[in-house]
Symmetry: C2
Subunit: 229 residues, 2 copies
DNA sequence: GCCTAATGTCTACACTGTAGGTACATTCAC
DNA sequence: GTGAATGTACCTACAGTGTAGACATTAGGC
């Protein structure tokens, strides 16, 4: 699969580098979850001594995790920024959603990883979306400070939606239905009247549609704020 | 600290129960972070054999984590629901924010914990806010299905904001300032013009204010959606 | 050739979650 | 009371984990 056959002499196991290690780690996490990522297992996958990873790729497990997150964010595809700012925001949202759904196991890293990593020290790749959105908003007429607030609201909502959607999403829909019904009927009707009535709606969840609706609400609010000044 | 001196005979170490264990675990996580929570260390704090925990409190570490999350959510204080629906939503938001800031180390559990726990199987305590907000929205005039969508948007935004705020928040503000300046000046001006200009605004972050602004945007959008049907 | 620096490999330590067994205490039926 | 049954406590053991440190091997420069 991987095996970037570097053309030096010591090509026996295929020379190791940071990129290869990180990609292997991402594969591992995608397939077997975050907990499956251990230095030893990673070494096993790469057919290398676990300690070799420390020399080439990372100073420790944490750094591997950070590397994975960065790798996933690098999958975000850039856009031409010629359309209306609202459609641009919409596109960005769907693009982030797309990438996150491709790597659901990595999402916890994305949302909680940068915790306690001060903004100034984050890798440039992580800051690009921020800069991009600031640009869009400022060109749309927001003042720089307002643009920052709006960015936070927008991105906050975005991450929130993605977390929501990942919770809603369950592998097997049929099992999901059974579980849901069982679970809901367990709840006392007097305490959870609305929730129990909404069982059918809970079952057909369309994440993309849901995201669009949320953004529409946000944009309506934003438009209003923009015109009121 | 804990030591609920139960009045039986074998009161030497003070009889163990699930509540005590969970509270001790929460303390541990609050003070030393999620990684510090191990069954062995928890046993040490409680002066019990680690294996005793398995008998009394939980089937494993995962269950302890779930218990912690539940415990934190139980700290949410209920409201009288007599005011305007918008003020109610605002209160709920601030209340959740308050509790999360009290237990920042637990937030990752709250946002990613219920992942892959189907909605129907979550503990009733976790579902109460959902039911509550559905009620508020339906009484405000939303149809049940719309109320569900709005709930998702609202809660998604809420969790997103909290994650954002926890990222912004750093222990020592002075160090924060130094780091930020250092970090931002490292970024090439041509690629990050807006971000570098916003350094001062990045420094004084008021989470409560920020949350309020976001909610205002949301509510403006919601009001518009509500009147358009 | 040899010297230096980089790289690979192995061992070892201090941890982790938790299955399984054993010794003790308490409780209940009679 | 006695005996059985049940619950509790504790220990040991196993298969993992991250990673520091020492050692062997190799590559490159001269």
């Amino acid at each position: 699969m991987e095996h970037a056959g570097n053309g030096r002499q010591k090509a026996r196991p295929g020379r190791l580098d940071r990129g290869i290690v990180m990609r292997a780690a991402l594969n591992l996490v995608d397939e077997h979850g975050l907990e499956a990522l251990s230095m030893r297992r990673l070494g096993q996958v790469l057919k290398r001594d676990p300690m070799a990873l420390y020399r080439h790729a990372a100073a420790g497990r944490k750094e591997v995790l950070a590397g994975i997150a960065e790798l996933v964010l690098d999958e975000l595809q850039p856009f031409a920024d010629d359309t209306h700012w609202q459609t641009q925001l919409r596109r960005i949202a769907h693009e982030l959603r797309r990438v996150c759904l491709l790597h659901p196991n990595v999402v916890p890293l994305l949302v909680t990883g940068p915790l306690s990593t001060p903004l100034g020290l984050r890798p440039a790749g992580t800051l690009k979306p921020l800069e991009q959105i600031l640009g869009i908003l400022i060109r749309a007429g927001f003042g720089p400070a307002d643009a920052l607030h709006v960015y936070r609201t927008f991105y906050g909502f975005l991450y929130g939606h993605i977390l929501n959607e990942l919770q809603e999403y369950v592998a097997d829909p049929e099992e999901n239905e059974a579980l849901l019904r069982l679970g809901l009927y367990r709840l006392p009707l007097r305490d959870f009247p609305h929730l129990r009535r909404l069982a059918p709606e809970l079952l057909d969840y369309d994440g993309s549609e849901e995201l669009d609706q949320g953004i529409s609400i946000l944009l309506a609010g934003l438009g209003q704020q923009l015109s009121h000044r």
